[in-house]
């Protein structure tokens, strides 16, 4: 008994003629045309060339934002301090329903914001009497005393000012914090903090995790990104700086971030990722999904592309 012909899966044997097709020739033409187009567009429009944003840039542009961010690293309210995996265990992190994906990864890149962003860089500075005393005072204090200093300084920091290159907070019982914050701000404004945060990573300076996280904890980087339409709620994943076209092919991935429940969920990243993975699987399995696999046959677009062939067949 012969099997029933299935139009979406089976192929009828070809009984017509054959034409030669030179795929090497076509590929070479495509390569040359695309290469020339790339060259011409590069000469005419150039390429995005924004200057790198460093901690030096940030602390000179908005020293108070830098000082406030340094304080948030000390009182553990910064984005990095509260992020969870892979930097610490402060929160569960992104989860997909009951699956605590971020927590499973664990604190793979442990970051202690107090030491990594503030105390250790200050220790790398050449000895200065007030700073050395301040660091000694900090390291010899108990955890409770440090918390008390940080808490008192945080309460008074709403009236923080920056005058004549000095960060000033009027507060009492804050231990060495004014000296530490001031020296860190001076260090940042000189560019030394950028170097200190990178050189902690090893011989080759390719690991910019610490300076990037510190920058991201402040509001300066976010305001620049917002100005250039690069944030998540501005379809930023699709955009490029200036008037250059961006990653238009990421439109679907970016789209989900703009609508509920993704735009209001703390797990938006993993929810969007999960949805895109599910859609990618559907795309991979199109040949096996009844209905979806019939779309090309039913829309008959192939008959438009090969219209001359079908016209000649109809004539016969």
């Amino acid at each position: 008994m012969s099997k029933r012909f299935r139009p979406d899966v089976d192929v009828a044997p070809w009984k017509g003629g054959h034409s030669p097709y030179d795929i090497i020739k076509e590929g070479t033409i495509a390569l040359v045309v695309v290469g020339l187009l790339t060259l011409i567009l590069a000469v005419v429009f150039g390429s995005p060339d924004e200057l790198a944003i460093t901690i030096k840039t940030w602390s000179n542009a908005t020293p108070l934002d830098f000082a406030a961010t340094a304080l948030s690293e000390l009182n553990l309210t910064s984005g990095t301090a509260q992020y969870g995996a892979p930097y610490n265990n402060a929160s569960t992190g992104q989860q997909l329903g009951p699956l605590q994906l971020a927590k499973w990864v664990g604190a793979r890149i442990p970051i202690n914001t107090v030491n990594d962003f503030v105390i250790d860089p200050l220790k790398s500075l050449p000895a200065q009497p007030d700073l050395s005393t301040g660091l000694k005072q900090w390291s010899s204090a108990s955890s409770a005393t440090r918390s008390h200093w940080v808490s008192s300084y945080t309460k008074a920091s709403a009236k923080m000012t920056f005058v004549n290159g000095q960060v000033t907070v009027t507060a009492s019982d804050v231990g060495p914090l004014p000296v530490l914050i001031n020296n860190l701000t001076e260090m940042a404004r000189s560019g030394a903090l950028d170097q200190a945060l990178v050189t902690q990573a090893g011989f080759y300076t390719t690991d910019f995790t610490l300076p990037l996280l510190f920058l991201a904890d402040g509001s300066y980087l976010a305001s620049l990104a917002d100005h250039q339409h690069l944030t998540g709620d501005q379809w930023g994943m699709m955009n490029e700086t200036g008037n250059y076209p961006g990653q238009a092919w990421l439109w679907l991935y970016t789209f989900w971030y703009q609508i509920p429940p993704f735009n209001a969920s703390g797990n938006g990243d993993v929810l969007v990722w999960g949805l895109m993975m599910a859609l990618s699987v559907v795309l991979l399995l199109v040949p096996f999904i009844p209905g979806l696999r019939s779309i090309p046959r039913k829309t008959r677009i192939y008959r438009v592309i090969w219209r001359e062939h079908y016209q000649s067949v109809a004539k016969e």
Partner: protein
């Protein structure tokens, strides 16, 4: 040779222009690229195959 010899003729480093419609926000540059891609797709469907005239003459 000075660096100005390598500068772009029409640099696009100025602040971007954006189109807004409800929650949809798209840069003019991305919009132009998408329109060109759609145009290329439609052209690929409707443009005749190269060599069509030669084949007809042979027939």
């Amino acid at each position: 040779m000075s660096l100005t010899h390598f500068a772009a003729l029409l640099p696009l480093d100025t602040l971007g222009h954006y189109l807004h419609w409800h929650f949809i926000q798209i840069s003019v540059a991305n919009f132009v690229v998408i329109v060109l891609m759609v145009f290329t797709f439609i052209a690929a469907i409707f443009a005749p195959f190269p060599g069509r005239r030669r084949r007809k003459e042979n027939q």
